[in-house]
Structures are given as C-alpha cells and as structure tokens.
Symmetry: C2
Subunit: 296 residues, 2 copies
C-alpha cells in the first residue's frame, strides 16, 4: 500500500492569488485598473448568487467586477451587442460569459464575439485555435489549473501515458491539448469508450473530468499513477439530514491507496481554477497595453 | 491471412472533383465565380512548380487561380498586407497560404490574418477553434480527406479504439480532433511515445501521419484494423538509377496482409486531399454569399 501525496489545491490557489495581488498592485501603480465584466443570461436568482461569489473573489485580489444580467429570453443580437459594448469599453479589461447559455443561443458564435484579448476564460475559438497551435494568448482556466497542479506535484508529462476521461469543451478537451503539447501520449476517453478500465489502468497520469460522482475506483488506477480529479458534484450528505456535500469523480479513499499523488475534492482543482481565472484577468488587462497584439 | 480492401483514393478524389465541378457550374449560373489566391513566400523556382500544379487542379474544376509570390525576405507586415488586400477583394473567394513560411515569420499570426470565410485550408486559429467546438466553417483538408476515406471504407469511428501516430498541426492533430468528435477513443502518439507498438497493436483504426518512410510494419497492426497512411515520402527508387519514388509511412505489403482495409501511397490520402481543397474553395466561395456569417 502506497501513501499517496495529497496535492493541496487550496495552498496552490492561495499562492497564485498572492502573486495576482502583487500584479494588480503593480498595475495600479502604473495607472491601470483591472476590471472583469461578467455577462450572464438566464435565471436572475442563481445568477445573483454566482455573481456575489465572483465579486468576492475579484475583490480579494483588487480586481473590479461588474455583472451584466440578461433575461432568459435574450436574443443572440442582444448578447452580441452587450459583448461588443464591453469589447470597445477601454475600462473593461476582461469579459466573462457565464455558461450554460439558453438552448436557443449559438454558444461558440457568442464566444467568438469576445475580443480575444479580453477573453479571460480563453474560450473564443480564436484562442482555442492558438492553444491548438501551442501559441496561446489566454487558455481555458480549468486546463491551466490542471497543468499547475501537475507542476506542483513534480509531474513532468513528457513521455508519460496519460488518459483524460471526459471530453467536454470546458475541461477535458483543452486538458487533452495541453498534455499533447507537453508530449504525453494522451488517450481521450468518454462515454462511448468501450473498455474504460483497459485504458485507465495503463495511465501513468489519469485526469478525470466527467461530472459523475465516484465514477473512478481503485480498479481503474495503475499503482503509482498521478490522479487529478476535475469533477465537482453535489450529492446528498448522509451524515446531515437534508444536507449536501461536494465529491469528485474519483473514489478518493480507495484510489489514494493505489496512486502516488491525488487531488482531493473539495480543495483540489476547484480553488486553483478560480485563482487561475483571476490571474488570467490580470494577464488580459496587461495585454490591453501590449503593443505586440495580433491584428493590433 | 486477410486480403485487405484497398481504399481507392484516386476514385474517391475523382468523384469529389466531379461534384465540385457541378457546384462551380451552378455558381457560375448564379453569376458567382470561384477564385483561389495562393500566397507563397520563399524560393521562386519551387514555388512556380507547385503553383503550376495548383493552377492545373483548379482549372480542372473551373476555379480561377492566382499566385502571389513574395521573396524569402518578406516581412510579417508585407505578408499581412498581401493577405489583407485579398481579404477585402470581393473577387477573391479563397486564400491559400503555402507552408512552410520562413523561420522569421510567426505562422499562426499570419494564418490568423486570413478571413475565416476565405480560409480554404481551415488553418486560421478561429477555424481550428470552431473545429474544436465541433462547429467548423472550413476544416483542414487532410483531416477532411481522412474522414472521407473512412466513410468510403464503411468505417464508423464511434466506439472504436483509434490511434493517430504523428501530431503535426496540419494532419495528425486535426485528425485527432475529428475522430474525437466522431466518438472514437483516440490515442495521440508521437516521437516521445515510449511504447508505440503497445498502443498501435490495440487500434481498430490506425492513422499514420509522421512523414517517416516505412515506419509502421505488420508488428504494429492489429488483425483486421483499418489503416490510413497519410505519409507522402520521396525516397530513392532502386529500380531506376537516380530515380525517386513516393512511399508512405506504412510498409504496405506486409501491413495489407494483417489489416482489413488500407490506403495505398500514392493513390490514397494525397489525391483526396487535393480534391477536398478544391471542394473547400467552393464552400468558401459560397459562404461569401451566405447571410448567416459570424460577425457578418
């Protein structure tokens, strides 16, 4: 039995936030204010709750935050107008388009409307394409967070057999691209994978980003593997009547006995992703003042 | 011993070119002329030879062709100016930026300058990003050609274990994305892969896009697999003194005895890629007149 090293996402996030604070202070000294504007379409109550959390995180690193809430019936034209307005407002240095958008909206088209230099989540197709070419301006936060966690775990992906379970466009697919760039041999698994265990058991590096509580157990994991659990699932908490708890996609206790390093949930990928978003907001702000911009 | 089905790229290419001719004639009837402009930077002699071949292919399906040759010392500003001029010229419906560009040029930045709707090779990062989101306008030709060959071979990638050997940005990586969208379980292998045979021997579908003559032999291939050879390598021809011949990345004769279907080289991926480029030139021309354009 191995004692897995726990990769401490909270500590890593705290370090990134400290660095980010230093950067916002430096920018303030140069007369530049970092400001993140979020566009939210849909349920105002849920939106307000989420926005409150975003505002608090921004405030903790001296980033201004503004919310633009549109109704669930908003048209593509209305969303695009709002984004265009934020694109051209020099006080707005970063734009966040909260997902999911309602079904009647073409999501990539809306993401495409965001100025690539203000696209703090790296979701504009142009930014995704630059990531594909290994020349990103701003990359997706969750993928950046996973790479940061791997670095802190002392993991060098080059030459490793990596398996990414889950191929969503926000987490799994960008993570797959990043690991390819780092020269791991990456297998992209998903719901249609016929023999998941056969793939995951060969993985030196196992990333799980499905959103299914406890999907991955000890039987899926090679001894000594590094396991990153991207899943964040709310499930009923048996110990508290009517309560909920947050769990990952990995059965932590049993997998920790097999692998060499693992991220907990909560306290793993989640807080690092938030910290990376804040750092990306600062990077985006800096790029506004960078003369070497593409299509300047 | 199985008798592998030979996937006949020449016949598939001829069929695509016939369809493309019908499309250009229809567009001509509507008063729209398809025109492809190639930008070439570097050696004028090699460029002229290549351009002659491009012009001949275009002519065969009633597409106008124009070459814009820039010297090997051309600056990024000069290349960008040329592309901008073609972007804004309504007579130009498609733009081709011949690669490789000289080392002092930032290739993705130049590709990013091409109007996504005129980008017949689908190489603008925005087009790559839309492919990532499974919402492509125009996708890279070689990847489209591979998917076309698989369709003709009766191959349904969903659920298959696929291995793509070689992860270049022109062929291997876009092919990997396409196969992921078709819900194969894709493993992306490359020069840093530690145990290539272990991966390829499990592949129901094996795509090789490395550019190394005869890299893949029978020992790499699972019995009954489908094998697509993207490699096009010029090697000395022992049967003709001082002559050359074209071979793929796969040892055709021995692999054909193991696999169930295979593309030859020459006569496989190559001609289909050329035919797809012509079809994409027509698709691009059509999009010029499409009112549903992004950021129209």
């Amino acid at each position: 039995m191995l004692a897995a090293k726990v990769i401490d996402g909270k500590a890593i996030a705290a370090a990134i936030k400290r660095q980010t604070s230093v950067m916002t202070e430096q920018m303030a000294d140069e007369g530049h204010k970092v400001r993140l504007d979020a566009v939210m379409v849909g349920d105002p109550a849920a939106g307000a709750l989420y926005a409150k959390s975003q505002a608090r995180h921004c405030d903790s690193v001296q980033i201004d935050y503004a919310l633009h809430a549109l109704g669930v019936d908003a048209t593509e034209g209305e969303i695009r107008s709002k984004i265009d307005q934020l694109n051209t407002d020099d006080n707005v240095t970063g734009i966040l388009l909260n997902l999911p958008l309602p079904d009647h909206i073409d999501t990539p088209a809306m993401q495409y409307a965001i100025d690539p230099y203000k696209d703090v989540e790296g979701v504009n197709p142009a930014n995704i394409g630059l990531l594909f070419y290994d020349a990103p301006i701003i990359a997706p936060c969750t993928a950046l967070a996973v790479m940061e966690l791997l670095r802190h775990a002392g993991c060098e992906p080059r030459g490793l057999d990596a398996v990414v379970v889950g191929q969503g466009s926000i987490a799994g697919r960008p993570i797959t691209l990043f690991l390819q760039h780092e020269l791991a041999t990456v297998t992209a698994c998903h719901a249609e994978t016929r023999d998941l265990v056969a793939h995951t058991r060969n993985a030196d590096l196992l990333i799980v980003a499905v959103g299914k509580p406890h999907l991955i157990g000890a039987e899926h994991v090679k001894e000594g593997a590094i396991v990153i659990d991207v899943g964040i699932n709310r499930v009923p908490d048996d110990s508290r009547d009517g309560g909920f708890k947050t769990v990952g996609d990995v059965r932590y206790d049993e997998v920790a006995e097999v692998c060499s390093a693992i991220t907990p949930v909560p306290g793993g990928v989640g807080p690092v992703t938030v910290a990376i978003l804040l750092r990306s907001a600062v990077d985006a702000a800096r790029s506004q003042f960078d003369p070497r911009r593409l299509n300047g």
